[in-house]
């Protein structure tokens, strides 16, 4: 019983991470059909923002020493600010470009962010102790799980509820949903497009900041490529969730996390090294049977 519960918690925690990242990508895709590949690098940037620029082996912790009630808003704000900045400086200029061009631009932006970090901090991974109080085990129903795992799950659930309320109950949320559904029509009906897009970037960036906090305190490492793996999983989650569907992205994120965890548990030792191949195999299966994704967004369909 205890160990089954443990697996459930493992799957939920990993799924939460993917779901948060997928949400960040789906938000932007929803309003402007942009797959933002720079998202992973925004995550890395948020972690490095806590360190003082130096190329030494030992990380010079700077903002990372702040108490948690200042640290968390700071990281979220850094993510949101960088994301909004990238919209102002880069993506705004591609408003009428086709999605493929925008995607390439996002790759380029990702490289710029990554090499900026490389320049300031070198490629050597740095170790940081972020929110060390979370690295303690706690006991729930016979399962001993790291506190961080529980917090990750709770935070994700809170974010999901918060975001749902925001999208359904506020005017800005309504505008955002309208823009996601049919951008041109929404504009014609008086939705201020740039404001909505900027809002989506800010939310997406803040989500990147949340992932940075979770990853940073879980792994204790700041690495300029640390966002890449999560970004890839999140992108896959948005695809199998149905491009542009926020709920789909979240469900698919949890699904991917669960598949990865379950594969690790049930595969025989020799096959475990190839776990990701099995995970991607499952992704292919989903796409064969539901090429439009689990929940397809209405706005994403081509209309004749």
């Amino acid at each position: 019983m205890g160990s089954l519960l443990q697996v459930v918690f493992d799957a939920l925690a990993l799924g939460s991470l993917y779901a948060l990242a997928a949400l960040g990508i789906a938000l932007i895709f929803g309003v402007m059909r942009l797959v933002n590949f720079a998202h992973g690098d925004v995550i890395a940037f948020c972690v490095f923002a806590l360190l003082w620029p130096s190329t030494d082996a030992v990380a010079v912790v700077f903002a990372g020493n702040l108490p948690w009630f200042l640290l968390i808003p700071l990281v979220l704000a850094v993510g949101a600010a960088l994301s909004v900045l990238s919209e102002l400086v880069v993506f705004r200029r591609f408003r009428r470009a086709n999605p493929a061009t925008m995607m390439i631009a996002s790759f380029a932006l990702g490289f710029v962010i990554r090499y900026f970090l490389l320049m300031l901090y070198s490629s050597r991974p740095k170790s940081i102790s972020l929110l060390p109080a979370l690295s303690q085990p706690i006991e729930i129903f016979g399962a001993r799980i790291p506190l961080l795992q529980l917090i990750t799950i709770l935070v994700t659930i809170a974010v999901l509820f918060g975001l749902t309320a925001f999208l359904r109950r506020t005017r800005f949320g309504l505008e955002m949903r309208a823009a996601a559904e049919n951008f041109t029509m929404a504009r014609m009906l008086g939705v201020r497009a740039n404001r909505v897009i900027m809002g989506a970037f800010a939310l997406s960036g803040a989500l990147a900041g949340a992932i940075a906090l979770i990853l940073g305190s879980q792994t204790g490492t700041a690495n300029i490529t640390m966002g890449a793996n999560v970004m890839l999983m999140a992108f896959i989650a948005t695809v199998i969730g149905g491009m542009g569907s926020l709920a789909g992205a979240v469900i698919a994120g949890f699904l991917l996390g669960s598949i990865a965890t379950v594969m690790q548990v049930i595969l025989p030792p020799d096959a475990r090294a190839f776990r990701d191949a099995f995970v991607y195999g499952a992704v292919i299966l989903v796409l064969i049977f539901r090429p439009q994704g689990l929940l397809s967004a209405r706005g994403a369909k081509e209309r004749v």
Binding site: D10, S127, T219, Q264, P269, A273
Partner: protein
């Protein structure tokens, strides 16, 4: 007759114009000055420079001063081959290549095809040598497998560990090497038992599922053999301890250094094999003296034990050159292969015509206790790991 000699000399001089300088010996570094390998190459290179300086100050090698030429591999395999050729063109008698087999081999192969001796700065795969480059290639470090075997035997003999758990990060050959050595040693230890095994990937955001498997065991294992490297190692160690598992954690040398310990505050029961101590407590005072010299030259203490192989490399090569009385590659290789437990600052070194690497070595054991690492013991595995087992 005299005329013929002159002609021959001329021909020889023309055939190898780079060798025209007979009043100095050239060491060529085809290593990474940029890119991520720089973090690994630079410290070992600095250590090599210290040994070169010492030799030069003591009158040089064969009465000649050693001069250094460098070329940047930019942490790129194609650039590595170019860098190799460039130091060879500059007349290198010894070609020093990048720390890692994959990144160092292009330059080493260039040296091999020019018939020159090449040394990997700190590669720990058996391929870094005869097996993967050719008969003139060597590595200055110790095989990864020796690290795994050392930790297994030492923890069994000195810590009374009997139940082991094996956690392998399948990212690199180095990681697999550590676990291979562990696998080779474990069956030789009476009533030592492998109670479970698992794999993960260095970049995995979470190893929660792997940890759950350890926790599902009826009893916490005495020791966890963790075959991984930076940066994933920190993440794995942090998560294992965060889950409340207090078993001994055994590692390869790749996690040596205190620069990352801040990520896992108060880490204890954590063991690493090292060739020399960067913590100022090496049983050999000469190592501490070297650390001071290193600090003077570079402005900082060595951050990991991977600094030391660079020093050993120049040391053993210079001895071989001295004994051979020439820098001619075949003669130097022959002298290197005669070295049997040749003493160096960082333990004895042996090279044979089968293996240009260490399949048995003295390791210091560093224990991290309440977040503070320090040397607690030293260990040499009871028998060298057979080459056949290393080639598996």
């Amino acid at each position: 007759m005299k005329r013929l000699t002159v002609t021959l000399c001329l021909a020889a001089a023309l055939a190898s114009p780079a060798r025209a300088d007979d009043d100095k010996i050239i060491v060529g570094f085809a290593t990474a000055a940029t890119g991520f390998m720089q973090a690994y190459d630079k410290p070992a290179e600095d250590a090599a420079m210290i040994r070169i300086k010492e030799i030069n100050e003591a009158g040089g090698l064969l009465g000649k001063q050693i001069e250094v030429v460098t070329a940047d591999t930019k942490t790129d395999r194609a650039e590595g081959a170019k860098a190799g050729l460039s130091v060879i063109d500059a007349g290198a008698d010894l070609v020093v290549v990048s720390c890692d087999y994959d990144f160092g081999s292009p330059a080493a192969l260039a040296a091999e095809s020019s018939g020159l001796v090449s040394f990997f700065l700190c590669a720990e795969s058996i391929k870094a040598g005869i097996q993967g480059v050719g008969p003139h290639s060597f590595s200055a470090s110790v095989l990864a497998a020796v690290q795994g075997a050392t930790m297994a035997q030492w923890s069994y003999e000195k810590k009374g560990a009997r139940s082991y758990y094996r956690l392998l990060d399948t990212w690199t050959e180095y990681n697999k090497g550590i676990c291979d050595g562990f696998d080779w040693m474990l069956p030789q230890l009476a009533d030592a038992k492998l109670v479970g095994e698992d794999t993960f990937l260095n970049e995995d955001a979470s190893i929660a599922a792997q940890i759950t498997r350890i926790k599902a065991l009826p009893q916490e294992p005495d020791a966890i053999m963790l075959c991984t490297m930076m940066p994933g190692a920190v993440s794995a160690i942090k998560q294992i301890r965060a889950a409340g598992i207090n078993s001994m954690i055994l590692n390869g040398s790749g996690v040596d250094g205190s620069y990352w310990l801040s990520a896992v505050p108060d880490l204890s029961n954590f063991f690493v094999p090292v060739q020399g101590s960067v913590y100022g407590d090496d049983p050999n005072p000469a190592v501490t003296a070297f650390n001071a010299k290193y600090k003077e030259a570079t402005g900082g203490d060595p951050s990991t034990q991977y600094t030391y192989p660079g020093y050993v490399m120049i040391d053993v090569w210079a001895k071989a050159v001295e004994r051979a009385g020439t820098t001619d590659a075949d003669a130097v290789v022959a002298e290197l292969e005669k070295m049997n437990a040749e003493p160096t600052l960082f333990g004895p070194r042996t090279f044979t015509p089968e293996l240009h690497h260490q399949n048995q070595a003295r390791y210091l054991i560093v224990e991290t206790k309440a977040g503070k690492p320090g040397v607690v013991d030293e260990w040499t595995i009871s028998a060298p790991i057979p080459v056949a087992d290393l080639m598996k």
